[in-house]
Amino acid sequence: MSGMSEYAPLRLHVPEPTGRPGQATDFSYLRLSPAGSVRRPPVDTSHFDTQDLSYTLVRVLDDEGRAVGPWAPQLDAATLERGLRAMMKTRIFDARMLLAQRQKKLSFYMQCLGEEAIAVAHSFALEKGDMCFPTYRQQGLLLARDDVSMVEMMCQLMSNARDPLKGRQLPVMYSMKRAGFFSVSGNLATQFIQAVGWGMASAIAGDTRIASAWIGDGSTAESDFHTALTFAHVYRAPVILNVVNNQWAISTFQAIAGGETTTFAARGVGCGIASLRVDGNDFLAVYAASAWAAERARRNFGPTLIEWVSYRAGPHSTSDDPSKYRPADDWKRFPLGDPIARLKAHLIAIGHWSEAQHEQAQRELEAEVAAAQKEAERHGTLLDGGIPSAATMFEDVYEQMPDHLRRQRQQLGI
């Protein structure tokens, strides 16, 4: 060591979460804004005009369940009830599939507990023909739709004879073009840039459809995220760039992805993209921000980046145990609460809903999901070996099967 400097020796900074097992999290790092306090600019605004919006937090629902401020959307009560039911259905679906995984009927599962509002309310703001490029935690995009069968989704999860993906993909890696749901990769961030390309194609074709890209806080560190922002800005692509900041990437706190003392929304402004930071557990805020971004894209004003602040209430996957790295009661103490409880409180506050109706809806949805599972299991599960034939393994590698694959299939003896 030279010892020539008048300063103390250099020290490497490695970020840490403010809570660990046995030590309650200090959530003040989230820097929340009061509901209704953040302004709503016109949809044709410039990225420059969204600088403040990338550091504050768009919120609509206050602690009393009232919808307040300029972002409060004009959604009728029936639509809100549909949203509530879709979130409840998503949570029930996740719970049953978690159980089915423990029963070895599927190999693996990923729930979106606590993040239901993001996918469900976002899907309400899109139109038929728009294309989402989801990660593995946006099953709500499918479960919010009336035209997607839970049985089909469960058959994929169970890799059974009716699995539309023929057992080739891990559970949850759905593909459903007709429902505007691009094939889920499993390699993170790759699809963020593909969504930009899809939006560019729509613009090249003179179409009216838009794309919606999805990524988590953790994988914003991948180069594909930054590449996507550059391309989206350069070509003014009609795309919504969704960053779901659920605070945790497996065991890694969002500060390790670069969220410490800044926000992921701020990345967008630096790239010339209008950017919002939004309460992801607030159904009304999610809908309002999504609709704002969708209108911008559809009117050719270009991309919008939205950071959805939320909390991954469950484990990363069925292979994860979060009690090893964060406080067990963290979600209960998370200041943005539970999206289902919050929308329920709002519907009760406006006189459209009651505890009794909620309980009845819960029972109905549980029965609906259970019936779907029973139906799906009739086509087999991973446990009972009712999986698609191994011969199908050689199909679709190419459009037409080349000779070498034909030979290999023969070698397998099928």
Binding site: M131, F133, P164, L165, K166, R168, Q169, M173, S175, M176, K177, F182, S183, S185, N187, T190, Q191, I193, Q194, A195, V196, G197, W198, G199, M200, A201, S202, A203, I204, A205, A211, S223, D224, T227, A228, T230, F231, V234, D396, V397, Y398, E399, P402, D403, H404
Partner: protein, 366 residues
């Protein structure tokens, strides 16, 4: 089938008529083209025929590409169908995959094959598996063009031949033409193919055939029959080899520049080599390869890329698996050395006709 194109095929030495069967009726009269002009013609024809074809990459728009392959396309088809991109190979391929998912048919240029590695995740994990993982719900009909190979004093970052990285990946097609006629017919076929295609262009062949004698003047394509390329539309099979030079003494498996080097070695050694120009590296035309080896009983594999785990290893394995009992000599491999492509020592690295000729002699003497 176009009459002119058929005549051209029959007139062109090194091309067997069967392998150049021309599809479509619009193939025009043959005119002299460099490989660059032939590739440009393929893009032009494809963009004119199909509004879904879009062309983009670094410097390809207004300027027309550093090798000028896309020159004039932006002026002719507009900025939304031929445009410049940021310097990001993962971005270029990634947006291409998204566009293909939408229903366009992107043809992207990677400025040098040496620059393709940042796009590896998009190519290997995404484009190559899109059809498979979604059971055809989505696919990635994307053509990824890239100049490859050395011989232009490009050093380690402008000379590589990365074909083996791609032949290893299931779901990709990897092709490499050796002349303007094939380049145009294969590029049109690649654009029309519904599988993702790695289209490798040996840049030392852009302006003329190159037999490895760098000390001699460059022969322009205009002085070679394979530089006579039909105007208009025609395409070649995307998975067929051609017998570039018929012979009886031994079989050479080669592609790109090495086809010409091998032909030179045959002339210089007097060994009557049958040179198979693979054209399609993978999936490949195994039948043509095996028929030749069964006839000659000897096999020399030649490529410019580094040796270990190179595509030649796969070729040698396939030949011995399928016709071991026809072999009268060990299979010879002639390749680049297992070093980065050097700059000043380029011609000591390049497997020229002398090294190929020595391998011919070893194969004949064994």
């Amino acid at each position: 089938m176009s009459k002119q194109a058929t005549v051209q095929a029959a007139d062109a030495p090194g091309l067997d008529a069967a392998a150049v069967s021309v599809e479509g009726a619009q193939a025009g009269k043959p005119v002299p083209m460099t490989m660059i002009q032939a590739l440009r013609s393929a893009l032009d024809v494809s963009m004119a025929r199909d509004a879904r074809v879009v062309v983009f990459g670094e410097d390809v728009g207004y300027f027309g590409g550093v090798f000028r392959v896309t020159e004039g396309l932006q002026a002719k088809y507009g900025k939304s169908r031929c445009f410049d991109t940021p310097i990001s190979e993962s971005g270029i391929v990634g947006v291409g995959i998204g566009m293909a998912g939408y229903g366009l048919r992107p043809v992207v240029e990677i400025q040098f094959a040496d620059y393709v590695y940042p796009a590896t995740d998009q190519i290997v994990s995404e484009a190559a598996r899109m059809r498979y993982r979604s059971v055809g719900d989505f696919s990635a009909p994307l053509t990824i063009r890239m100049p490859c190979g050395g011989g232009i004093y490009g050093g380690q970052t402008h000379s590589q031949s990365p074909e083996a990285f791609f032949t290893h990946v299931c779901g990709l097609r990897t092709v490499m033409p050796s002349n303007p006629y094939d380049a145009k017919g294969l590029l049109i076929a690649a654009i029309e193919c519904n599988d993702p295609i790695i289209f490798l262009e040996p840049k030392r062949l852009y302006n003329g055939p190159f037999d490895g004698h760098h000390e001699r003047p460059v022969v322009p394509w205009s002085r070679h029959p394979l530089g006579m390329v039909p105007e208009g539309y025609y395409k070649l099979p995307i998975d067929a080899a051609s017998v570039f030079r018929p012979g009886k003494d031994l079989t050479v498996l080669a592609y790109g520049t090495m086809v010409w080097v091998a032909a030179c070695a045959a002339e210089e050694t007097g060994i009557d080599a049958e040179i198979i120009d693979l054209r399609a590296l993978w999936p490949m035309d195994l039948e043509t390869v095996l028929a030749s080896v069964r006839k000659t009983g000897r096999c020399v594999v030649v490529h410019e890329a580094t040796r270990t785990s190179g595509f030649g290893a796969e070729l040698a394995a396939l030949v011995q698996e399928h016709c071991f009992h026809h072999l009268e000599a060990p299979i010879e491999r002639v390749t680049g050395w297992d070093t980065p492509y050097p700059h000043a020592q380029e011609w000591d690295y390049f497997p020229g006709p002398a090294r190929v000729g020595e391998a011919f002699k070893r194969a004949m003497e064994a």
